[in-house]
Symmetry: C2
Subunit: 342 residues, 2 copies
Amino acid sequence: MKNDLVLRAARGENIERYPVWLMRQAGRILPEYRAVRASLSGFKELVETPERAAEVTIQPVDLLGVDAAIIFSDILVVPEAMGLTYEMVEKRGPFFPNTIKSESDFEKYAQVDFDIEDRLGYVLEAIKITNKELDGRVPLIGFAGAPWTIFCYMIEGQGSKTFSKARKFLYTQPEMAHDLLNRIAEVTVRYLKAQIKAGAHMVQIFDSWAGILGNAQYRTFGLKYIEKIAEQITEVPVTIFAKGAYAAVNDMVDSPCNTIGLDWNMDVVNIRKLVGETKTLQGNLDPCALYASHSEIERLTNNLLDSFESKRHIVNLGHGVYPDIDPEKVKTFIKTVKNYEI
Amino acid sequence: MKNDLVLRAARGENIERYPVWLMRQAGRILPEYRAVRASLSGFKELVETPERAAEVTIQPVDLLGVDAAIIFSDILVVPEAMGLTYEMVEKRGPFFPNTIKSESDFEKYAQVDFDIEDRLGYVLEAIKITNKELDGRVPLIGFAGAPWTIFCYMIEGQGSKTFSKARKFLYTQPEMAHDLLNRIAEVTVRYLKAQIKAGAHMVQIFDSWAGILGNAQYRTFGLKYIEKIAEQITEVPVTIFAKGAYAAVNDMVDSPCNTIGLDWNMDVVNIRKLVGETKTLQGNLDPCALYASHSEIERLTNNLLDSFESKRHIVNLGHGVYPDIDPEKVKTFIKTVKNYEI
C-alpha cells in the first residue's frame, strides 16, 4: 500500500499527517460521476454494475486526492438481499413497496439463509475491480448500514422525519424488533466479512438514524447490534458512525471498534477527553462549511485541526458532502488538511 | 384561575401535583378535532377562523383533562405576516412558493413595519374567545417559532432533512442572516406581547430545527435571538423548547426564561443537575411511548416522574403527540401524572 495513512490512523499507529476523505466523495459533487450516472438508467444500475461502481469509487482518488476510497454502493442493498426490494425515487429518496408489518413477513422479507455471493456478488466484484485499478494507491473502505437504520427502512418503507412506525415497534413488539435486528446483524456480519475477503481494507458501519432514539433505547436496540457486528469483525479496523447519537458516544468508549465517526454537531474536544488514546476519531467539519469562501474553508479546517489533542484522527466532514458543493472547495479542504503540520 | 398549576410550576412556586399538557394536544388525535377540520376547507382556514380555532383549542381541556390550553395556530403565521405566504400541502407539510434569496427580497418578504393586529388579529381574536369560553378553568399558552426555525422556512421554503440552504447562508452571508434573524425576532416580540395582551397566560418559543446546528453556530444564530425575545417578555412566564439542541442546554441555564422544554432524547437527571432550582423543566416522555399498552404507559410515566429531583416540572411529551395515537392512551398518561404523589 503506497498510502496507508488512514489504516495507520485507525490503528493508532504513527502518522506523518492527518489522513482525509469525505463521506459521499464518490457522488454527485463530481461532474465525472454525473456523466457516468447519466449514461445509465439510474442509481441502482450504477450500484449493480461492478465496472461502473469501481470507476466512480476511484474518481475522487484521482480528482480530489483523498487518502481513501469508499466503495460506491448503498446501505439498502442489505434489506434488498433479505427480500425487500427498494426503488430510488428521484428527489424523494428510497422507497420500499413492501414493508415488514409482523413476524409472518420474515420468511419473505427478512431472509437470512442465502449466500452473500449470490445476492450481493456485484458489490464484492466492484471491490475486486476497484482494488485492481487502485493498485495499492490508497486503502478501500467497505461499509454497511447499522441494524437500527436498516430496521427503520424495513418497517417504515421510506425516509421519515420521526420514524414513528419503526419506533412504535420498539414499544409494541420489542421481541419481534430484537428478532429482526438480530437477523439484520447476522446478514451484515457475513456481508462485511465477504467485503473484507474481496479486498476491503477497513469497514464503516453507518447508523444514519441513531439520533431519533433516546439514549436508553439506543443502547438496547441500536448500539448493542452494532457492537455485536463489530466484535465479529476482527480482520480489519472498524469505524462506527452513529449520526446524532450524542449521549451514546459515552457508551462507545467501550465498543469493539477502532474509530468513532463524529457528526458535525459532536464536540471533538470533549469526546477526545472521554476516549483518551483508546480510539481514533473521524470527522467532523460541518458539510455546509464547504459553501464558504476558500480562505474561510482554510480557516475553519485549521481551527478544527487545531482542536485535536491527539494524532488518532481521520479528517472527514461530519456528514456526507452535499451534492451542490463546488469540487474546488473540496480540494481546498483536502489541501488544508494535507498541509497541516502535526 | 381555577387551575393555575402550570403557571405556579413555571414560576417555581409550590404545587400539589405535577401539571401536565401535551404539545399538539389540539389536533388530529381527537375525532372531535377531525370533525371540525373536515367541515372547513383546510388547515389554514381553521387557523384563520377565530371561533373554530378557539373551539379546537378547548377540546383537549374538555376531553383529555389537560392542565393548560395552547392556542391552536401555527408558527408559520409569522413569516406569512412578514410577506411570505405559505400553503399547507396534505401529507407533505408547509410550502412557500417564494423564498428569500438575497437582502433585496427583504422589502417584500421580510417586512417589519406592520401592525400585528392588522395581519395577525385572527390569532389574537382566537385567544380572546378561548379565554372567554375557558372561563378561568386552565391557563392559555401562546406561542411563536424561534427566529432560527422561521429563518429556515423563509430560506428553504419547505421542510428538509438537512436545511442545507439555510445553513449555507450562515457561511456565505452571515450578516444578511443576522439581519433577517433580527427582523424575525423584532416581529416575534411584538407578536408575543400582543398575544399576552389578548390574554395568553404564558408563552412558549418553539425552535424545531435547533438540532441541525452545531453548538457554536446555534449560540450565534439560534439561542441569541431566542434570548433577545425572551428578555423582552417580562409579563408572563416564558418557555424555550429547542428540539435537539443537546449541547445548548448548558447555555440555556443562563437564559432569560422560566422553563426549558426537553425533547425525549434529553436527559432530565443531568439537566436538573445543571439548572438546579433556577429553572422549571418541561417534558419529556417519548411520544412513541403512547403506542405501548396502558399498563406500560403507566410504568413509563411513573419512571419518568420518579426521575425528577425537583418539583419544578411541567409534564409533557418530548415532542408533539403523534396523530395516530389513541386518545385513551393519552388519558392514561394524564391520569398517571395526576395520580402521582409528589
